[in-house]
Amino acid sequence: MSSSSNARKPSGLFRNLSAKIASVPMVLTALVVFVGGTAWTVLYSFTSSKLLPKTNFVGLDQYERLWSTRRWLISIENLAVYGFFSMIFTLVIGFTLAALLDRKIRGENVFRTIFLYPFALSFVVTGLAWQWILNPDLGVQSVVRSLGWESFTFNPLNDPDIVIYGILIAGLWQGTGLIMVIMLAGLRGIDEDIWKAARVDGIGTVKTYIRVIIPMMRPVFVTALVLIASGIIKIYDLVVAQTNGGPGIASEVPAKYVINYMFRAQNLGQGFAASTMMLVSVIVILIPWAYLEFGGKKRG
């Protein structure tokens, strides 16, 4: 905009006026609904609101209570474990599948459809299906035992120590297909000549992928990363359908804590405090990343 040197034209504010008017509703929605709603939530997290929002401020009481609640701590720990493994495995499996499909194999369409299909299912269906698959009397354990391994035990959903991995398996099954497709699109965008050049230089296939192709696919990885991360933070329905937080409170997640305390426990203040903490954790991850991503470009 600033590159305009025509003095007679009005200031930048009135350029493309119709486009700006057209975008007013969206800007208002963003400001009022997203920013306004967020500010309101943060503000009321400092009150002792119960069923109805009230403005009797109690300082940091809600946060103190939040961080001394075992269920919240377990939720955070679960989210960290789920997030860490989900991030790594989704990227690794998604990229590996995409790379394998990209080797011009026969029946690519069939495999692509099979791998992407779980993504067409909702988390509720995924959760229920995996609840049955991991049920010791119906699923994997009983199948393996009926094949002759009588002492085989695989019962993650009833074991508080490993239940979160049972959920992780279901989450990976549902989510890797999409990442695979995104990676595949990225791989298809790589010029054939790169491969030819690598072959001329005598670089091995795996090494080419790791040293040449992956660095070139940086934007694709960023997209995948954002998709996976947002999926991790908002995980709720999968847990509700698969374990409902059980056994005990071993597979609770933060979003479930927020919903429970806002509506079932009728304690809005506590729910708002928890959701504010979720927002803070997102910001803590986002800001350094945005700084690296956008701050770096200006210098370059």
Binding site: L51, T69, R71, N158, G246, P247, G248, I249, Y261
Partner: protein
């Protein structure tokens, strides 16, 4: 002058009867077979008054339905009437002026004298005004014992919790799960509440739950309760079911020795064709302390600014508590009626036991009436963790006392 007054009076009567043709949407979460049949009795009686009952059943338990109901009332789209558990759940809605005051109807019909126990009406009363109609009494304090299971180990059916605890290892040896327990927070919390009354006694319970006295919660009476809960956890270790009715089914089929569950479990035994005293035994208060709590369901009437609707709401309020409707409803629901002056000859052995205890005054207010949903959720979370981990009795007791100390 007299003629004018008479004319005015008759005109008032006319408008009153005209206003009776109202349509009311009634929301509730009674969707299982027996519950739906019971609600149909309400609908029939209400339609007979010339109004129309529009059924708004919400599937899922109270935990699912309550947020929907509350958000509709808050969102300015109130229903004509709704089921809620009376107690503190609706406190803030009443405070905000969103619930209709029923005091006039209540005084005209003398609810104060006929509702038994009177604590039910107290739970509906807020600052001296009445805001809900209690419709039934459900009590938690029951243990259900399978005759089959005890026949298998050649032991007489226990008459109280201590005998049961003594027989439990034998059941275990015979491959029977001593105590069936659904792995859900509210069931574990409920069972714990029942054990509190039976083991710590009413006085200690009252100090903790009504007066929120954390010192009593740290005291020896409650220590005994937590010890017993650790035992119960061992007995229930192999009970891998989730829903309460599946746990009840374990008792029905003799796979489990017993279950601690409220009187709604009775419906399951009835459907399975079992007879109280022959196939199963029920012990109120675990056979130790025969006291029943008086939780239950109540109907609230959100404020709707329309005279016809208001008249229909009042008509429904008085229908719900009328003697005939109380009998018809409670027989189908398996719960006890809220008024002492009705005749329940058709009640079975267990219901009769409950009625006798009510007559003898062995009652206490339910937890719903004394603890906020917030505190209850915290205790449920603690119980869910306690029952599925190897948390020690002392740790659990300490954390329980902390929750009580911060309760409001």
């Amino acid at each position: 002058m007299k003629t004018i007054a008479k004319l005015m009076a008759s005109a008032a009567l006319c408008t009153a009867s005209m206003a009776h043709a109202g349509e009311l949407e009634v929301t509730h979460w009674w969707t299982s077979g027996g519950e739906a049949a019971a609600v149909a009795e309400f609908a029939k009686a209400f339609d007979a008054t010339g109004n129309t009952w529009v059924d708004g059943a919400i599937a899922g338990s109270g935990g699912t339905a309550r947020p929907i109901i509350i958000s509709r009332i808050l969102g300015g789209d109130p229903m004509g009437a709704t089921q809620l558990n009376h107690g503190r759940q609706a406190e803030e809605l009443i405070e905000a002026g969103l619930m209709t005051d029923l005091t006039e109807v209540a005084e005209a019909e003398g609810w104060k004298d006929l509702v038994n126990p009177s604590s039910l009406l107290d739970a509906c009363t807020f600052e001296g005004r009445i805001y809900c109609v209690p419709v039934n009494i459900h009590s938690w304090q029951w243990i259900w014992l399978s005759h089959d299971a005890f026949a298998k180990i050649d032991t007489p059916v226990p008459a109280d919790w201590n005998e049961f605890a003594a027989a439990a290892p034998k059941l275990e040896e015979a491959g029977i799960v001593p105590l069936a327990m659904g792995q859900q927070g509210w069931q574990q919390n409920g069972a714990f509440g029942v054990m509190t009354i039976a083991i710590a006694g009413l006085d200690a319970w009252r100090k903790v739950v009504v007066d929120k006295d954390a010192d009593t919660a740290r005291g020896p009476e409650y220590a005994a309760v937590f010890e017993a809960a650790v035992d119960a956890r061992t007995f229930a270790a192999n009970s891998n079911v989730q829903d309460w009715n599946l746990a009840t089914n374990m008792v029905i089929t003799g796979k489990a020795g017993a279950q601690i569950m409220g009187d709604w479990a009775q419906g399951e035994f009835q459907i399975a064709g079992q007879v109280a005293g022959e196939d199963y035994t029920c012990l109120p208060g675990l056979g130790v302390n025969e006291i029943l709590d008086t939780g239950g369901d109540a109907f609230y009437f959100p404020v709707i600014d329309d005279e016809d609707t208001k008249a229909a709401q009042m008509a429904l309020a008085s229908t719900l508590i009328s003697p005939e409707v109380q009998v018809a409803f409670n027989l189908k629901k398996g719960s006890l009626p809220v008024r002492g002056d009705v005749d329940l000859t058709a009640a079975n052995d267990c219901m009769q036991k409950g009625l006798d205890i009510l007559d003898a005054g062995g009652i206490m207010p339910s937890g719903d009436m004394n603890l906020t949903a917030d505190t209850q959720t915290q205790i449920e979370d603690l119980m869910a963790e306690f029952w599925t981990s190897d948390m020690s009795a002392t740790d659990a007791q300490e954390r329980y006392a902390d929750i009580i100390a911060s309760a409001d």
